[in-house]
Structures are given as C-alpha cells and as structure tokens.
C-alpha cells in the first residue's frame, strides 16, 4: 500500500532508475564472474546515477527509498575503491528514516569503509615518503 504523501516516480526518474539498474546488474554480474577490473567503471557510473536518484526521491516524499539509494551509491563507490565518497554517502544515509536493523548495517558498512580509507591513506603516505 502506497503512503499518501508519496508521489509517483514519473518518467524521468524511471528512466534514471532503469539506466542505473542496467549498469549495476552488469557490475554485479562481472564481479560475480571474477572480472573485477571490468566491473570498476560500471560501479562508478552506477554510483553516480544513484546519487542523482536519491534527492529526486526525497522530493517525492520517498525518504526511506532515498536513503536506500544513498546506501546503494555508497556501496558502488566502495566497490570501485572510492572510499571517501562512500563514507560521505553512508553518513548521508544515516540521516534518513532507516529501520533499526538497516541503521546497524549501515553503521557497520561506514566503520569498514573508514578503516579501508585509513589503510589506503597510510599506504599513500608510505609511497610519498
């Protein structure tokens, strides 16, 4: 049952969601097949579309969905090795109306992401020295 405050997606948002689903399913399939290098640019493109989708869902009163698309964007960035963008988006998602189990998951994802970020920063400073 749809809540009354929620507005329909509309054709533009549906097109964005379709494009993003195509890229994301492609990235996911390549990753499952072990083709991680091939998947990298697809993760980045999917993340960028998810970032465009989320605020449009907020504007339609679909805040829960918006937060979940931010989580999806963050996950795509993380899979592409872009940990700063991922951490920002996980933080952004936590400001949304998530269920308690989802909030706990996202806090864990954020923690893992910050640890990855720290590791990659350390290895960069070692290379720079």
């Amino acid at each position: 049952m749809r809540k009354s405050k929620e507005k329909p997606y509309g054709p533009f948002l549906e097109r964005l969601m379709s494009e993003k689903s195509k890229l994301l399913s492609q990235a996911q399939a390549f990753a499952q097949m072990g083709l991680t290098e091939t998947a990298q640019p697809l993760w980045r493109s999917a993340a960028s579309l998810e970032e465009r989708i989320a605020p449009r869902l907020d504007a339609l009163g679909r805040s829960r969905e918006a937060a979940l698309h931010r989580i999806s964007a963050a996950t795509c960035h993380r899979n592409a090795g872009q940990f700063s963008q991922a951490a920002n988006l996980f933080q952004g998602a936590l400001a949304g109306p998530l269920s308690e189990p989802t909030r706990a998951d996202v806090e864990k994802f954020l923690e893992e992401c910050l640890a990855e970020l720290e590791t990659s920063s350390r290895s960069r400073s070692v290379v720079a020295m």
Binding site: M17, S25, R64, L68, P97
Partner: protein, 184 residues
C-alpha cells in the same frame, strides 16, 4: 496441474533494464549438465496469492537453444561452481518473477555485499538463491526468508530458491509480509 513452458532466451526482452546475459548462459551451463532442453522444475509455493488456486501443483519447463550451449561450456570452464549456480538460480527466478508472479519491471540496488531486486509496481523485494545440494534446499529457503522479511525497504518479499538436482529440479517460492510493516 498447471504447466508453464518457457524459453530462457526471453529474459533479455522482458527485462531491458537488467543485464541478464550471464545469468541466462549460467542457467544453460548448469541445466545442460543434468539433461537436454527442456529442464523440468517442480514448483512448490507457500502463501503466494497469485498461486492459491494451483497449490502445490505447478511445473515449469525451461528450454534453451543449442546455440547457447557453446557459450555455456566456456562459462562453465571459467567460473567456480557456486557463483555459477547463483547466477543460474537468478535466471530461473527471473522467469518465475515474470511468468508466475507477474512482478513487472524489476529494479536493482546494491546493499553491502549483495544486489537486491525489487518490484516498484508491487512494492515487493525479490530474494533469490540456488543450490545443487538437496539437503541445503530448505535451510537456504529459511535463511532467505529471514533476510527478506527484514529487507531495508520495509516492503513485502518474494523468496525464490532453486534446487538443481539429478533427482529432479525444484523451485520453492513464497510470499512474506515484512516484519516492519509499511514504508517509513
């Protein structure tokens, strides 16, 4: 008994916003290990409103063209069995989502290590898994139900688990209300 016959090649035209080619080839790779086309699945359903009138009496006959078998052979040679079976199960589940559940357009989001399918039209998520071990079939279904009823969207869930087996392929398909209720 209701029998649904379907060529797996149709997936691509049903889901233009999903990349399903590897899933189709994986399904052929797994199914052609057991038999020639078509492969027969016994469909076991639970609490699925669309299937109430057929309770426990459904079959899915899935066919494929010989032309896909060469690609399938290549994929089988390059992929580990477990992810191959998961891709194959996804292909079978997408056929069921269209022909049996009528879920309409499916969207994908990424969540942690997994990709979640959802039907905006039905306000439902679709959880999928597959195995070749008969003893794991029901346990895998229970695990997926637990995961599905706590889905982050707070939507209802359909769970589809496939067993690929020389003793007979099976699909367990069920519908669940989300423990949390409607969207926040």
């Amino acid at each position: 008994m209701r029998s649904v016959r379907q060529s797996i090649e149709r997936l691509d035209s049903w889901y233009p916003s999903l990349f399903v080619e590897p899933h189709v080839v994986a399904a052929v790779a797994v199914l052609s290990d057991y038999s020639e086309s078509p492969a027969n699945f016994e469909l076991q359903s639970g609490n699925v409103p669309q299937l109430e009138e057929f309770a426990g009496e459904m079959r899915l006959d899935l066919s494929w063209p010989r032309s896909l078998e060469t690609k399938a052979e290549r994929l089988r040679a390059t992929m580990q069995r477990s992810p191959l079976v998961e891709l194959a199960a996804t292909a079978v589940a997408l056929v069921a989502a269209r022909r049996v559940l009528d879920l309409g357009r499916l969207e994908v989001t990424s969540y942690g290590d997994r990709a979640d399918f959802r039907s905006p039209q039905r306000r439902a998520v679709l959880e999928v898994s597959g195995t070749e071990v008969a003893g794991e079939f029901l346990r895998r279904h229970r695990e997926k139900v637990a995961q599905a009823t706590e889905n982050p969207f707070g939507w209802d869930a359909y769970v589809v688990v496939c067993l690929f087996s020389a003793q007979g392929h099976r699909i367990r398909l069920s519908h669940h209300e989300c423990s949390e209720g409607s969207n926040a």
